[in-house]
């Protein structure tokens, strides 16, 4: 960012600017995804219009209004709640969402910190949200909340493995775990000798992409993997006792994480900020837009599945992870390894 503006600012200012951008990015992403997909796309798929009035144009103000309403509400805690843990749980979940964005590049130079461990870091911090879910469920002093939290923990642990295994294929092909390195490897790569559009790993890692999408859907606890928040059985699972701004934190955390995982999938499999033949400063300018378009496409897939399929039963859910996805992930690594050595 600072290079583009040709300003020489100290590391303190740079850090402050980066922090503010990240802090603004998560709620903004949650608003965009929430409005586009949760409110409008779902409504149109179900032959209705969704919110039309707030803000004048197709109800664009609806979610911002909801947010303002949540902030104004009274801060209610259950009588038997473990006060400190109850208050900290939404913050832990939100924090893990914020931390993912640190490594996602939006241009050759637009990245908060291009870590060497890149994608591994992103998956490690995303796994922290499980702690927040368990804290919320336990501290609420509510049977439904605890049941929801236990379901969530079992599910998130089970689907973390296929998520990691799916990414290993990409890492083998790119030869690096740095997300910036993976983007560059895709831009300069070739599909069996043809380098017309580089090599977005969507084509050569199609199994990895499918695994990643299914596992990410489960990590986001979206339908068909929404046992933890199944409204007909558990009211709202681990967040049943939360209202007001604490509930808002959960909401931003949930949709913001969908935004983060969509960005991660776009970077790993669709080439991230890169488009063929664009390099240098132009890529810095176009990068964020290109990444956003790809990210919205991935998010569309997430929400399309969410509005289409019915909920899986708990045993089906676990069987899918352990008996189908994990063996498939291991096979994918083996095949990718053979191809990497052979070609």
């Amino acid at each position: 960012m600072t290079h583009l503006l040709a300003l020489d600012v100290g590391w303190g200012t740079t850090l402050a600017i980066k922090t503010i951008i990240i802090l603004a990015l998560v709620p903004a992403g949650a608003l965009i995804l929430g409005y586009t997909f949760l409110l409008k796309m779902m409504s149109h798929m179900q032959s209705r219009l969704g919110p039309m009035d707030p803000g004048g144009f197709h109800g664009w103000f609806q979610l911002i209004g909801d947010g303002i309403k949540f902030i104004q509400k009274e801060d209610v805690m259950p009588d038997g709640a473990d006060k400190r843990v109850f208050a900290m749980a939404p913050v832990v979940i939100l924090m893990s969402t914020f931390l993912i964005f640190v490594v996602i590049p939006a241009g050759p130079r637009i990245v908060v910190k291009n870590l060497d461990v890149g994608v591994f870091y992103a998956l490690a911090v995303s796994s922290l949200s499980v702690i927040g879910v368990l804290m919320a469920g336990w501290a609420s002093s509510n049977k439904f909340a605890l049941l929801g939290a236990l379901r969530a923990a079992a599910q998130l642990i089970a689907y973390e493995l296929p998520l990691l295994l799916a990414v290993v294929g990409v890492v083998i092909q790119a030869g690096t775990m740095s997300l910036q390195g993976i983007v560059v490897a895709q831009q300069n790569g070739s599909i069996f000798g043809w380098s017309g559009i580089g090599n977005p790993y969507f084509f050569t890692q199609i199994i990895g992409f499918a695994l990643f999408m299914v596992a990410a859907q489960a990590e986001l606890t979206q339908t068909p993997f929404d046992m933890p928040v199944a409204e007909s059985e558990l009211v709202a699972g681990y967040m049943v006792e939360y209202t007001g701004f604490r509930f808002l934190f959960f909401y931003i955390g949930e949709v913001g994480t969908a935004f983060a995982f969509a960005a991660l999938a776009a970077t790993l499999f669709l080439g991230g900020w890169a488009i063929p033949g664009v390099h240098g400063a132009v890529a810095d300018l176009l990068g964020p837009i290109v990444l956003f378009v790809k990210l919205m496409f991935v998010a569309f897939l997430f929400f399309w599945v969410r509005f289409t399929y019915p909920r899986l039963r708990e045993d089906q859910l676990q069987a899918l992870a352990w008996k189908v996805l994990i063996p498939l992930g291991l096979a994918n690594i083996l095949i990718t390894g053979i191809f990497k050595v052979a070609f």
Binding site: V85, L115, V117, F120, L123, L128, L134, L150
Partner: protein, 167 residues
């Protein structure tokens, strides 16, 4: 160097308080949550030493999996919301002796082995924390110990399954 030292002491003191919290608290879930702080502190110390990959492995495995399994187990079996969970017993004195003994042994050993050593965090040291270097070391130099440990863990897993399924 000074900045690293200040950061080390801040993290170390926070870890110390959290570690005391783990053993002092009367609530078993709180103990597990204090443990998260201690383990996060360990990861932070790894980062200070330039071992980035090991630090995030620590986060993913210990915080993301081990502590979650702890919490899962506690909540599934007995999760008392308030009051004592019978965490205290009459072995305080032997525990204190064992802890002091362990502290003494570790301090003597470390002082003996690295007492005068100064590590300069230059590019060469930082490069050894890179993922590629760690991977090379594990799968070239230490591949046999690595495979032995893997087999040991696999045996433990199979054993756990056998004990759990009594049919």
């Amino acid at each position: 160097m000074i900045a690293q030292n200040i950061a080390f002491w801040i993290i170390a003191v926070a870890m110390g308080f959290a570690a005391i919290g783990v053993v002092r608290t009367r609530n078993i879930v709180h103990a597990a949550l204090y443990l998260v702080v201690v383990l996060a502190g360990v990861a932070a110390q790894y980062i200070l030493l330039g071992a980035e990959f090991v630090a995030w492995v620590q986060v993913l495995i210990y915080i993301g999996a081990v502590v979650i399994l702890f919490l899962f187990g506690i909540m599934l079996t007995r999760a008392p919301m308030e009051g004592d969970s019978d965490l205290d017993n009459d072995q305080r004195f032997p525990a204190a002796v064992a802890a002091l003994f362990l502290l003494g042994v570790l301090v003597v050993l470390l002082l003996d082995a690295f007492g005068g050593t100064k590590i300069k965090l230059d590019a060469a040291v930082l490069a050894t924390g890179k993922t590629a270097v760690v991977g090379d070391a594990i799968f070239r130099q230490y591949v046999v110990p690595f495979e032995v440990v893997s087999m040991l863990l696999l045996a433990a897993l199979v054993g756990a399954v056998v004990i759990a399924r009594r049919d």
